[in-house]
Amino acid sequence: MQAPVLEVEDLAVRFTRRGEQPTRAVDGVSFSVAPGETIGLVGESGCGKSVTSLAIMGLLPRRGVEVTGSVRFDGNDLVDAPDHVLRGLRGADMGMVFQDPLSSLNPTVPIGTQVTEVLLEHREMSKAEARDEATRLLDRVGIPDPGRRLKEYPHQLSGGMRQRALIAMALACAPRLLIADEPTTALDVTIQAQILELLRELVVDSGTALVMITHDLGVVAGLCDRVHVMYAGKIIETADRHDLFTRPRQPYTGGLLASVPRLDSTRGAPLTPIRGSARDAIPWSEGCAFAPRCDNAQDDCLTEVSGSTVPLVPDGPGRELRCRHPLEHPSAPSGATASGAAR
């Protein structure tokens, strides 16, 4: 195992607004990514996965946001790093791909300029060299006729093209870390598969560390080596992909897997969603945030009974779990069906 590119330790993000109770969007999140490794941050919307990624990149607004803990990139802490240091790293050593490619591209600037500006900022290149490199990049991410596309504006491209262009920008300077925040959510299913395949190829080819942020378990199954499941700002389960799909331990993870429609289930059989919504979460200080929605919940899931908040503890080799009453798997079922169904 190579030394990790990115180590996040005890990361917490608090939003403080004048006259309002501060809210913890992310709380005590720790994970690391090694070169060539892909990890998934999985959870429902509002669970803090996007805020985590923005905190890593230093893209959260400075005012009204409090980031604590540490984000070490190559061993250097980024949390308190000055703006110019972060700007030097972003785009060059760490790239990011966003969810909605149309709104993430500047509508009044040609695609070419939006690609070359990264190169011109971080690389010693002439404009002509940057232009050639941009053509090569667009070609590499699978955009046909890249020379012509460079002159076009975002609205003239299809959704898949736009996402490819965004990926080209993120990869322009061959970053060692790529964070992809729901990169396929806004795309058609066929395009989704293409984009995921593209990302996978890039990781394999260049040894880039990839942090995949998604709510889509299919994406996780297809791409990620390790998975961190988040709920209400905390990691509640960490496992290798295979273990997670075959033997989910956190009832929330189990619920996520069960709520994916399966091809081999009886037609007309009801889907099994998780009760309630993320808004029903209780503060972690009062116990397990998922307890109000959990079928396994018992009295000691609440702090007032157990006397402490539910900790994240090791749970077998390579696994971590935050749950007092996890799902039990007496005999390991064959993993193929579970992960196959999730795809």
Binding site: F98, S103, T108
Partner: protein, 334 residues
């Protein structure tokens, strides 16, 4: 693009026809009429009838209208009763003054308004922000003639820093080439004439530019506040671009789209004559000419000026639309 422009110019025809009918009917409906205005209140009915016959005013209205129209298409709007010269000549003499005034007022409004609006947005909630919001509210609310009087009283009458009336000192014997006094001074190398004409523009331009300034500050501020929260600005920051590049290419460029529309509309409004400001400063542009024409019932000037100003207004709006297409590729006309 060319087809777009031609189509817009063709749209001018019905606009002008409609306007000319309205104008014609409105002026004929005014109490008194041209004869009364020309001959005075004590004119005898016989004299009025003679005057009407002389100028063809006894003929049916539609005959008069079509005769007016026939001359108007040849840019002949008749003679002004107060100046005794063709209306077109008067217009060509006065309109350059209004253009000069408008240009300076808009330079002032844009030059101060956009930076101020940008800073207010970037320091959202600060003292500067509140001050600019309140200041622009006052700027919009203050009656322009009142502000004009205040400026004139303070800087022209009390302090004597700047001239308070006219377009140029009458003692300067300037050569007229284009009737743009500042430009004429530059063309003929009469630097003192150009400088003097410029100083005459300063106070009315500030008075006139206040409302556009206030509007530009508010729209720039609101627009920048919107744009900084856009995903593409986050993308630009994620690319590690220098703050100056993010600001210029990704924030300001997009934030100025709605501002450019406002600038165009305001320029069109100012060009069609700032009656109040020009009157306060006795500035010989189209605004004060219109004021005099209404006061003295100079119908030929009113008809001619209003129609020509309508053409100018439509042309300015056409320019705004074209420039909008250049700025925003999404609405680019093909």
């Amino acid at each position: 693009m060319l087809r777009f422009i031609v189509r817009r110019l063709l749209q001018l025809i019905p606009i002008l026809l409609g306007l000319s009918v309205l104008l014609f009917a409105w002026l004929r409906a005014l109490p008194g009429g041209p004869a009364q205005a020309a001959l005075g209140e004590r004119a005898t009915p016989e004299a009025i009838a003679q005057y009407n016959e002389l100028f063809g005013l006894d003929e049916p209205l539609y005959v008069q209208y079509f005769r007016f129209l026939g001359r108007a298409v040849q840019l002949d709007f008749g003679n002004s009763t107060q100046y005794g010269r063709p209306v077109t000549d008067v217009f060509l003499e006065r309109f350059p003054g209004t253009i000069e005034l408008t240009v300076l007022a808009m330079v002032f409004a844009i030059g101060v308004g956009i930076p101020l609006g940008y800073l207010a947005a970037r320091r959202h909630g600060s003292f500067l922000d509140s001050a600019s919001v309140i200041g622009s509210l006052i700027g919009v609310a203050i009656p322009v003639f009142f502000l004009a009087y205040l400026l004139r009283l303070l800087f022209a009458v009390e302090l004597g820093w700047l001239p308070g009336s006219g377009r140029q000192d009458v003692r300067i014997d300037a050569t007229r080439v284009t009737n743009f006094y500042v430009l004429d001074g530059l063309l003929t190398r009469e630097w003192d004439a150009a400088w003097d004409a410029l100083t005459h523009l300063v106070l009315p331009a500030i008075a006139l530019g206040t409302i556009p300034l206030a509007i530009i500050v508010r729209i720039t501020r609101a627009s920048v506040l919107d744009v900084v929260n856009e995903d593409y600005v986050r993308t630009a920051n994620a690319k590690g671009l220098a703050m100056a590049t993010v600001r210029r290419r990704h924030i300001v460029r997009n934030a100025l789209l709605p501002v450019s529309t406002t600038i165009g509309l305001q320029t069109g409004l100012l060009l069609s004559g700032a009656v109040l400001t020009e009157t306060v400063f006795a500035f010989g542009g189209v605004g004060s000419t219109l004021y005099d024409a209404i006061r003295l019932r100079d119908f030929a000037v009113l008809q001619g000026f209003i129609l020509m100003l309508a053409v100018v207004y439509v042309l300015v709006n056409l320019l705004v639309d074209i420039s909008y297409g250049l700025l925003d590729p999404r609405v680019r006309v093909r």
